[in-house]
Symmetry: C2
Subunit: 213 residues, 2 copies
């Protein structure tokens, strides 16, 4: 594999999608795949796929195709899967429950280590094997467990003090579901903002304009 720095950002952004398809293939016991077959499954052209995976030269041999497990491991390594990142979730509301119960953290190499909320009436309840803790315990938990990521499923109005508090605990990466651009206010943090509203607007665009984007 070439150095990560030689892979363009556009390709990096597409790699999680390859990772998904390769994970599916591996789960079905398929050990090699051609660019033609990947293109059929992913709805991309074979030449686009060959171009995207060009930097993984060793795994794509003419007439053989790609070794599924090796390519998957290689992409996973670029994304730090295997680094065993641990995460805490702040906010045990409906979205917190949905993620904790149904989202496959393990598939992305992330371990959900704790769930916190400010509502005393739900503290002690269990979600997906984890007991909801009160936010008062977050400092002690972070000191002991040093989580890499905080998943923010708190209301928008709670975001700023929550992030300031977590930053003081040494947490510096945020998966933010509050619908605001957190990276602008905390430029030193690593942030992924999930903007569901933008996604619904994209769908409305497709309906209104009868074309894909």
């Amino acid at each position: 594999m070439k150095n990560n720095d030689s892979i363009s950002i556009a390709v990096i952004k597409r790699l999680p999608r390859y990772y998904r398809y390769l994970t599916d293939l591996a789960a079905h016991g398929i050990d090699k795949v051609s660019s033609t077959e990947l293109s059929r499954r992913m709805g991309l052209t074979a030449s686009q796929i060959r171009q995207d995976l060009n930097c993984f030269g060793d795994f794509g041999r003419k007439g053989y195709g790609y070794n599924v497990e090796s390519l998957r491991a290689e992409i996973g390594a670029i994304f730090g899967i295997g680094n065993n990142y641990s995460a805490i979730m702040i906010g045990a509301g409906n979205l917190g429950h949905a993620l904790a119960n149904h989202f496959d953290f393990k598939k992305r190499g992330v371990h959900l280590a704790g769930i916190f909320d400010i509502r005393r009436e739900i503290v002690g309840e269990s979600i997906s094997g984890l007991t909801i803790k009160h936010m008062d315990q977050v400092e002690a938990f972070c000191k002991e467990n040093k989580p890499d990521i905080a998943i923010l499923t708190v209301p928008k109005t709670e975001i700023r003090p929550t992030v300031a508090r977590l930053t003081a605990c040494g947490v510096n990466a945020f998966w933010n579901f509050a619908g605001l651009d957190l990276h602008l206010e905390f430029p030193n943090a690593q942030v992924e903002n999930v903007h569901m509203g933008d996604s619904l607007m994209s769908l409305c665009y497709k309906i209104a304009n009868k074309k894909d984007i």
Copy 2:
């Protein structure tokens, strides 16, 4: 405004973000904004903003800036806000509850008209003022109300039969939370797939590589 066709897809993809910021400005009673001010708020360069909004010539006058409400309305029109799209939600689990209770559909011009589930034990319960109906009623509901969009918050295993059933009801646009690429299996439908896993992988990339993408 130029014809929508003259706006590049890259710009179209960024417009929901502009729409968010313009909505915030309007909510704060701000009626005009310069590209410099927008750039400060959005974390883009002023020249990128001027280039992006180039096609909205009438609203960006030198020395005046952009008329917030006009530009917001113009972008909204491109995305069909004002077309009063109606949506039904299939799946009243945690994610369905989270969206119905906390997601601002109105802001995106979408009206949530019905919520359906196959679990008889939750039929009749109320979420956000809507009574959960049994899926048995979906055909009659669609015939009468002709919803534009189905929001899919059902488990992945239920997706294919659910979409086939809704397609037969005349629903042709899907906001899909099941984590698979629905557009490949239903090429005639308008689909927006939400891939939360890809988003978490992007965050892990930023942590592992200590750089933004």
